[in-house]
């Protein structure tokens, strides 16, 4: 929108023009001033009037390429390919002046490689290659083809055309390898053969036509299978893979079971845990590991709990812990003063009557419920234990959790868990036995 548009809208134009007309006669100076004031008013009215597109003065033509680098001249030069014998001159464009490439070798000449095939002459043919089946001319033809087509057997076989001779690809191969082998042996008979030549000779010797034919026979039979056979084979492969997988799984489970049945054995040295300091450290470590798994804080693992019931990942550590625990029990910690006094003053019966117990392990500070100390299991196991308790008519938490009750309850839980585990393993073994038996019957 330009200012004139607004002038139009506000009808200012007409008054302006009217004003302008009488002002025609007036000198230029005041007129300009008047116009200026007019514009400023308008400018205030419409606010900022920046053009929507930044106008930039551009030159009509593309700017000249400003490059300080001199253009590289290309020159059309002739070249001779060293791979040719006739010295044919062809022309191509090269970068730089034509003098540059003058004495250079043609870059593609190096790709002119030939396979080294032993030379066949009439003399050495008579010496070692005499054969009733193959005349000299035919062998020569074969060698020529091999040379021309770089021992590409499919092509040699295709182009092989000697006097109507019927030769299979394997015939040709056998003859060629055999002849090469003999020629090489002859050549290196008197002189020393290096390792490479020797392996080459050995390789040539090892060609066996019948084996080759057999291989091809197998291959063609493989390709001639009909769709149902292919489908059958595929399904068999899938089945076999399934079997493999299940066998692997079974082996793993069996190994787990064996580990379960075996008594836990300490694997490392226990000497560092023999002191109370060492034990505390171990306990803290285990606690830390447990916390990492976001498990409820528990009492230290009681020595009687089987290591297998403790979860897997830090099994090793726990096994060590469990196995050293009895040892530390043999050497009880020095009793505290209070407990010493208690032990002196009160007999075991009296202590029981008063409900006093002397803890040999450390307890966390503060008050806590005894029922909290009842050991917990994996959720799945816990559920099964709960159902077993239900069957027995026992509540999942002891009603009056005295020390003795809790202890017994803990033992009961442990027994149930072991029972369940054993049952599971027995079931598995039984099905396995049944499976094997049924397989045998088949």
């Amino acid at each position: 929108m330009s200012s004139s548009d607004i002038l139009d809208v506000l009808n200012i134009q007409s008054s302006h023009v009217q004003k302008k007309r009488p002002g025609d006669a007036k000198p230029a100076g005041p007129k300009k001033k008047k116009q200026g004031t007019m514009n400023r008013e308008l400018y205030n009215l419409i606010g900022q009037n920046a053009p929507p597109i930044a106008m930039e003065k551009t030159s009509k033509f593309k700017s000249r390429l400003n490059s300080s680098v001199k253009t590289t001249p290309w020159s059309y030069t002739s070249f001779v390919n060293e791979a040719r014998q006739d010295g044919l001159e062809l022309h191509h464009w090269i970068k730089g002046s034509s003098d540059l490439a003058k004495d250079k070798e043609y870059p593609f000449a190096k790709f002119n490689s030939k396979i080294n095939i032993p030379e066949l002459t009439e003399d050495n043919y008579k010496e070692s290659l005499g054969s009733e089946d193959w005349s000299f001319e035919e062998t020569k033809h074969l060698f020529e083809l091999a040379n021309d087509f770089d021992i590409n057997w499919f092509v040699i076989y295709d182009r092989y055309d000697f006097d109507g001779a019927e030769r299979s690809l394997e015939d040709l191969k056998e003859r060629f390898y055999d002849a090469c082998e003999k020629l090489l042996t002859k050549k290196y008979e008197s002189s020393y053969t290096d390792e490479k030549t020797q392996t080459l000779i050995d390789n040539l010797k090892s060609f066996d036509k019948s084996k080759e034919l057999e291989r091809k026979e197998y291959l063609s039979r493989l390709l001639q299978r009909n769709p149902t056979e292919i489908a059958e084979e595929q399904s068999l492969v899938i089945e076999a893979r399934k079997f493999e997988l299940s066998a692997k799984k079974m082996l793993q489970e069996r190994a787990g079971l064996l580990q379960l049945l075996d008594s836990a054995q300490s694997t490392g040295s226990v000497s560092q845990y023999l002191t109370s300091q060492g034990l505390t450290q171990l306990y803290n470590n285990l606690m830390l590991a447990d916390k990492g798994k976001k498990r409820k804080v528990e009492v230290p693992v009681p020595p009687q709990i089987d290591s297998s019931l403790i979860r897997g990942s830090d099994k090793h550590k726990k096994i060590t812990a469990a196995s050293i625990a009895p040892e530390s029990a043999k050497k009880p910690e020095p009793l505290t003063h209070a407990s010493e006094m208690l032990a002196k003053r009160l007999s075991a019966e009296e202590r029981e009557i008063y409900g006093l117990t002397i803890h040999q392990d450390k307890i966390s500070a503060g008050v806590n419920l005894r029922s909290n100390k009842i050991s917990s299991y994996k959720p799945a196991v816990q559920a099964k234990i709960a159902s077993t308790l239900n069957e027995l008519g026992i509540s999942t938490k002891p009603t009056i959790p005295t020390g003795k009750v809790c202890e017994k309850f803990d033992e009961l839980l442990h027994a149930i868990s072991i029972l369940l585990e054993t049952k599971r393993q027995t079931d598995k073994l039984e099905t396995e036995i049944r499976l094997i038996q049924s397989q045998r019957e088949d």
Binding site: R84, N112, D161, S220, L222, I230
Partner: protein, 489 residues
């Protein structure tokens, strides 16, 4: 991909590539991605004015320009240069090539020429080509490359089975490391020209005896075919001289070409469904002939026509049990190497015994046991596309088979019929359940049509190829006959 630095393998020496196809000849500079000149493989011959005695003057004017070829002239004959993918009319060919080279501004003294050839090409034909190029045309160097090799280069697959469906021939050539296995080539003559004949006969069954070529039409009004006696509404141009049949045929070739492009279709299913009655149904497609007559083709007809490439024993000519004229005696069983060699009385590379091999053997028997068995299996019935490709696969060495089956390349203009590749793939897979069949075909029609030219263009611009040219010096020293045997075997 390996980290090894890739060598830029090209070295342009501004070579010329010439690809004479059975329908079009392609010429251009090596290194370009498409030919610069694509022209019919035909030339026009205009005899001089006929004088009072009725004797034509001996002067003949040869015409090669595509536009002038289509203009009607007095005493004007159109002649084909190639037959069955091989150059037959050498005089015409040389003149035509000269015309092309003049257009491209070729300097034979420092630009070599590469010509593509059919694998069936005879030694004598090769020697002739060499002679013509190096002596008549005075090129500094020359090379002959098999068309399937070029196709394999164009696709970047050194090991492949090239199925070329052209105008005259359908050929199937195994290529190993870029070298054609010439004795295992299979081929039939049920190709583009065969479809042309079928189409002509279908038109005849509709009461259209001949196509009126475009040049005859002065005015026309669109009309729609409904019954055999139908007369199209058009006005003919008058010529005060007679026009030769070959010229008319040449014009019609273009119409038929267009018909093939717009009508044909291949389907895997056996075509059933409504017969010609449904010519007015929505699935029918109309084709407007140059004289404004719209001829309907039903879906079924179009499929039957396209499918006859696959089943030439059941051609479709407008009526059931039709016979395709001109193909009555041909029962191509795929053994093209023998067929084209024997029937023409011309020596193919297979039968030609070069000079240095003195003994002329019983070439016919020079086939291994497998192959004779295989050719026995090919009964004397016409074989379709699938049969020859399958037969070619069967004849292959077992070590090659899986690889080549996985690299089947379709080329040639006739392979552009919609659904052809799918059907071939389907049938080959059904026949060879153990093999993984994979058909490669370029979607771009230009590349499909000119695949062999493009391959030649790639080859002739390779730095490593420059040692393979046959130079004039070699030719003079060794002679064409021997060079052909040693280099273009």
């Amino acid at each position: 991909m390996s980290a090894a630095p890739q060598i830029y393998g090209a070295d342009e020496i501004s070579a010329i590539v010439l690809d004479p196809g059975s329908y079009t000849t392609k010429v251009g500079y090596a290194g370009h991605d498409s030919p610069l000149i694509v022209s019919p493989s035909y030339y026009g011959e205009q005899k001089g004015d006929v004088d009072m005695d009725g004797n034509g003057s001996s002067e003949k004017k040869l015409i090669f320009d595509e536009n002038s070829l289509y203009a009607p002239k007095e005493n004007f004959e159109i002649k084909p240069i190639l037959k069955n993918n091989m150059i037959e009319d050498w005089d015409g060919a040389v003149e035509q090539w000269k015309f092309f080279f003049g257009r491209l501004d070729v300097n034979p003294a420092d630009q070599p020429l590469l010509i593509t050839e059919s694998t069936l090409n005879s030694y004598s034909n090769k020697a002739k080509a060499m002679e013509v190029v190096l002596e008549d045309l005075q090129f500094c160097a020359f090379s002959l490359v098999n068309q399937p090799t070029c196709v394999s280069f164009a696709h970047g697959r050194p090991n492949c089975l090239v199925v070329d469906i052209g105008h005259d021939l359908v050929t199937c050539t195994p290529v190993v490391d870029g070298i054609c296995l010439k004795n295992q080539v299979m081929g039939v003559r049920y190709a583009g020209a065969y479809l042309n004949q079928e189409l002509t006969q279908v038109l005849r069954s509709r009461g259209i005896d001949h196509i009126d070529p475009l040049y005859k039409i002065k005015a026309k009004n669109p009309s729609y075919w409904s019954k055999e006696e139908f007369k199209p509404d058009w006005e003919s141009r008058k010529f005060d001289y007679s026009i030769s049949k070959s010229f008319d045929d040449f014009h019609n070739l273009r119409v038929l070409q267009e018909m093939k492009e717009s009508l044909l279709q291949c389907t895997s299913e056996i075509v059933t469904g409504p017969d010609t009655e449904s010519l007015t149904s929505s699935s029918a497609r109309n084709f407007e002939l140059p004289n404004g007559l719209n001829v309907p083709f039903s879906q079924k007809e179009r499929c039957l026509l396209g499918n006859s490439i696959f089943s030439p024993e059941k051609p479709y000519t407008g009526q059931e049990e039709g016979i395709v004229e001109g193909w009555e005696e041909i029962t191509d069983n795929g053994n093209i190497v023998n067929v084209l060699g024997g029937s023409k009385g011309e020596k193919t590379s297979k039968e030609y015994v070069p000079l240095r091999r003195s003994k002329k053997g019983e070439d016919e028997e020079n086939e291994d046991g497998d192959k004779t068995d295989a050719s026995k299996k090919l009964a004397n019935k016409p074989n379709g596309l699938t049969e020859i490709v399958n037969q070619c696969l069967l004849n292959l060495d077992i070590d090659l088979k899986p690889q080549l089956a996985n690299n089947i390349i379709l080329s040639g203009s006739t392979s552009l019929i919609p659904g052809l590749g799918e059907r071939l793939n389907q049938e080959l897979t059904d026949l060879n359940p153990g093999l993984k069949i994979r058909i490669h075909s370029v979607g771009n029609p230009v590349e499909r049509k000119y695949a062999s030219w493009v391959g030649g263009s790639i080859l002739a611009s390779l730095g490593t190829f420059h040692q393979l040219w046959v130079s004039k010096k070699e030719y003079e020293e060794v002679g064409a006959e021997r060079l052909v045997v040693s280099r273009f075997r």
